[in-house]
Symmetry: C4
Subunit: 220 residues, 4 copies
């Protein structure tokens, strides 16, 4: 018999969270940031024990349905073995959630793909002096800069998750705002879905700005 306190995808509140992620998917797909079956999105539904609602693997992000979300535990294991597989990158979501994120959004735009591949050699891309930076959590003036780290793309997500965890907990120079996987796309997060969505829009906008500057003036 299931524990009554266990959140279920069918529960009212979770359904609202699904709807919010479905709306993200619709908009990101329309913009070309979540084409094919790329991207994955999650939201924390419970802190103790850590529980996330996450897009299942292989679905069209432009037309998600509530039954295409899967509930996972802190180790990214599906809680209800109903055949739905969490995204292969689920461990990145749980690592971010453990570190405090309430929602994690991974997008896969053309700009993020191309720039992350190019700047991998530098380890990241610097976004500096733009008003739009103020849209990132914890930044209140355009005189700041954001350093978005880039990691080599990998199919060994567990190893990358360990690296990300260490970087998040780096006391001196912690990973912030989001990160890129080379030739792959952007991970960002927020306290809730609205904040994570804002981060996606800000970072994808700034990657477009970096692209346009290079195209217009030959430098970044």
């Amino acid at each position: 018999m299931p524990n009554k306190d266990t959140p279920t995808a069918a529960s009212e509140e979770n359904l609202l969270l699904c709807e919010e992620l479905i709306e993200c998917g619709r908009d990101f797909h329309r913009r070309g940031w979540s084409l094919g079956t790329s991207s994955n999105y999650s939201v924390v539904t419970e802190r103790e024990p850590l529980t996330l609602l996450m897009t299942g693997s292989g679905f069209d992000k432009g037309r998600l349905r509530p039954e295409q979300f899967v509930t996972v535990d802190e180790k990214a294991r599906a809680l209800k073995p109903d055949g739905l597989k969490p995204s292969s990158e689920a461990l990145l979501h749980t690592v971010l959630a453990k570190h405090g994120a309430g929602a994690v959004l991974h997008t896969h735009s053309v700009a993020a793909t191309v720039l992350s591949e190019h700047f991998l050699k530098d380890g990241g891309v610097r976004l500096s002096g733009y008003e739009m930076l103020k849209g990132l959590s914890g930044i209140s003036t355009h005189e700041s800069e954001a350093w978005i780290e880039i990691y080599p793309n990998t199919q060994e997500i567990a190893s990358l998750a360990t690296v990300i965890s260490l970087r998040l907990n780096d006391a001196a120079r912690p990973l912030r705002h989001g990160f890129l996987m080379a030739g792959h796309g952007l991970y960002t997060w927020g306290r809730n879905i609205a904040e994570a969505r804002r981060q996606v829009e800000v970072l994808e906008f700034l990657l477009e700005v970096v692209t346009q500057k290079r195209l217009l003036f030959g430098s970044f």
Copy 2:
């Protein structure tokens, strides 16, 4: 007891104005001109005393709701202290409204961000010889030109508001059509929301034209 003549956001007419600004936000967000929580919009609801309805700070412009607008006075102070904060740039709106604008729209596109940063050294960008210029209020032939001034971006909005006020009242060569803040975006205005929206579309279009010309032919 509130003055019955005080416009309230709940009043019928103000609700219609909110709806018009909400529709602007939906369209600008879709086009990528108001991503993150960038941009802010306002409309004058009363001339004596000057009263504006303005987007509150920090909301998603693609999905504004009437309760996310705040009523401000000529000094950009919220009239109803219900916790809603006007945009930090509210003073720019009131300065423009005092000068006669009935609606002010601030957008934040990639083209405006990149070009305003590049042309800051020249103090502005010249738009010349385009039929689309006829869409700007007060221009009736494509043989005109518009000079769109650019100001350094700043978080000291009061100082910038003073500069803008002086430029608007400059008898010899007054500020017209709109202005850019470097690395930030476009301010424009009109007698009403429809005219201000037309100005946004015309100016954002022409900034795209300038961008494409440079990309294609290596010059502006």
Copy 3:
């Protein structure tokens, strides 16, 4: 007392034609081909005497309403003096209608603006070898080419209308498919609205192709 045979914008059939043009405007505005109050559209509602339904001057093409259309005669004079002004370019529509067009669509895209300005010196732009050419009326293989003539932009529409009329009736090498006005945009037409709309899409697509080829390979 009005002649019962005079078509009125209120009549059932004309309302359907208005709806079709409204839908064109919504789509073209969304794509950025009819921003500001640029563009104008018309459809022939009667051949004898020649009568057109045409967008009035100065309206937002993304949200046209039936009452924003005006009925004009063969000289582009408004039939019902109800204060609605036909577009200043109305004579271009009537010239095309006299030559057989059932619908005329004028769009104003970034690509058309930039390329028409650049290629004015050559008198036109050549579109050659593309499968998409088959979408133009009268072309059945991609081995054809279309020569889209470009005219200097002008506010003296009557003179341009005379030139266009002569070019349409040029027995040896008649004007076909559409034409560009430099720094302004595209005129094209068809037997009905659907055909004219198809021509717009084909030509705007091919202008994008020309743009991309130049950007990628440095030549046209």
Copy 4:
């Protein structure tokens, strides 16, 4: 009297398949991948005898209606001679269907047009090292690469269909994923409409990536 087993466009199931292709058309048209009357789409409705439901020739792909689909046999002949003509490229669809495809989608984007023309001399375009490749059927790691073959554009579809058939059955190095026709566009397919649509999104995305890399860094 019609054979009761013959699928008809009016039948319930076929109507659902039409709706799915109509939705593809709406989305591809919106993105600019199916403008004019370009593109054509099909789905297999029966294996024995092979029967396909296919877009008729010359329709606007953004607003398809169920009655604009035609049922064809394995030789691409219209089963019901009701005046509706299958696309002139119908034989490419039946060849792919015979080889196992359950749905075939042909799109016609700017990127596919320009790149297919440029890379024709190389016989194909290599897509290598991108995470998005995992969205192609049969690829499970970004360390793969896809070779998308390019054929000269032709109006002799029967000859091209023979070539494609041979390439599909090439035991050593069979044609996979999709192919381009130079200056024309992309053909791709899947077991069903959803899979074919995913293939379109993945390949169009990667052609955009190739375009952006060349624009930014001068090489492919």
